[in-house]
C-alpha cells in the first residue's frame, strides 16, 4: 500500500509566524493534491501539483512537489488565525485504479 506520511502531526503557532508541512512517500505519484479541512466540513482542494520540482503559490501559501515526485511541502508565510485547520495531502495510486489516497494529516492552530 502506498502511504503518504505527513509531518508534523500537530502544529500550534502564533500569528505572523512561518511554517512548513511535509508530505512524504516511498512511492512515486503522478500528482499530489493539498486539501484544507475546517471543523464540521469536508476537505476542500487548495492546489494540485503535477510536475517534479514544481512550485505553486496561492497568496501566502507555497506548495512544492519534489523532483522525484515522492514528496511535497506546504509553506505558509505570516500565518493567520484563518489558516487554522487540518491540512491533508493526497495522491492517486498508480496501479491501484488511480484511487485517491490521503496523508495522515497535519492539524494546524494559529493563535493571536
Amino acid at each position: 500500500t502506498q502511504l503518504l506520511e505527513q509531518s508534523p502531526q500537530f502544529l500550534s503557532i502564533q500569528e505572523g509566524e512561518n511554517l512548513t508541512v511535509y508530505c512524504n512517500s516511498s512511492s512515486v505519484f503522478s500528482s499530489l493534491q493539498w486539501y484544507r479541512q475546517e471543523p464540521g466540513e469536508g476537505p476542500v482542494l487548495l492546489v494540485t501539483v503535477v510536475t517534479g520540482g514544481e512550485v505553486k503559490k496561492l497568496k501566502r501559501l507555497t506548495f512544492q512537489f519534489g523532483d522525484a515526485r515522492k514528496d511535497s511541502s506546504l509553506h505558509i508565510t505570516a500565518a493567520q488565525p484563518g489558516d487554522t485547520g487540518l491540512y491533508l495531502c493526497a495522491g492517486p495510486i498508480t496501479g491501484g485504479g488511480n484511487k485517491l489516497t490521503f496523508g495522515t494529516g497535519t492539524q494546524l492552530k494559529v493563535e493571536l
Binding site: Q6, S30, S31, Q33, G40, E41, G42, P43, V44, L45, T48, L86, L88, A90, G91, P92, G96, G97, N98, K99, L100, T101, F102, G103, T104, G105, Q107
Partner: protein, 113 residues
C-alpha cells in the same frame, strides 16, 4: 445538486443496530469514495467506485461494512451490528475521474452508544 450531499448529517445508534449512510455525488462524476475520519485525524480509505468497474473494497475494516452504488450515482454505506469503535465521521467524495480533484460532502457523524 451543486455539490456532494450526504444524509443523515448526524446519526446516533445503539450498539448492535444496523445503519445506512447515503451519498449523492455530483452529477456526472464517475468516481466515488467513502472515507472514515476519527476526531482530528486523517482520512481512512474505505471503498472506491470507478465507473462500471468492480469496486475497490480493500479499505473496509470488517465484513460488517458494505457499500453499493446504484445506477452509477447514489451510494449507500451499510454498517451491520454497529460497535462503539465504528463511531466516526463518514465522508463521501466524488470526482470526474480517477485521481482527479475530489469534492467532499459534509459527512455523516455516526455515534454508537
Amino acid at each position: 445538486g451543486a455539490g456532494v450531499s450526504q444524509s443523515p448529517s448526524n446519526k446516533v445508534t445503539e450498539k448492535g443496530k444496523d445503519v445506512e449512510l447515503r451519498c449523492d455525488p455530483i452529477s456526472g462524476h464517475t468516481a466515488l469514495y467513502w472515507y472514515r475520519q476519527s476526531l482530528g485525524q486523517g482520512l481512512e480509505f474505505l471503498i472506491y467506485f470507478q465507473g462500471n468497474s468492480a469496486p475497490d473494497k480493500s479499505g473496509l475494516p470488517s465484513d460488517r461494512f458494505s457499500a453499493e452504488r446504484t445506477g452509477g450515482s447514489v451510494s449507500t454505506l451499510t454498517i451491520q451490528r454497529t460497535q462503539q469503535e465504528d463511531s466516526a465521521v463518514y465522508l463521501c467524495a466524488s470526482s470526474s475521474g480517477a485521481g482527479t480533484e475530489a469534492f467532499f460532502g459534509q459527512g455523516t457523524r455516526l455515534t454508537v452508544v
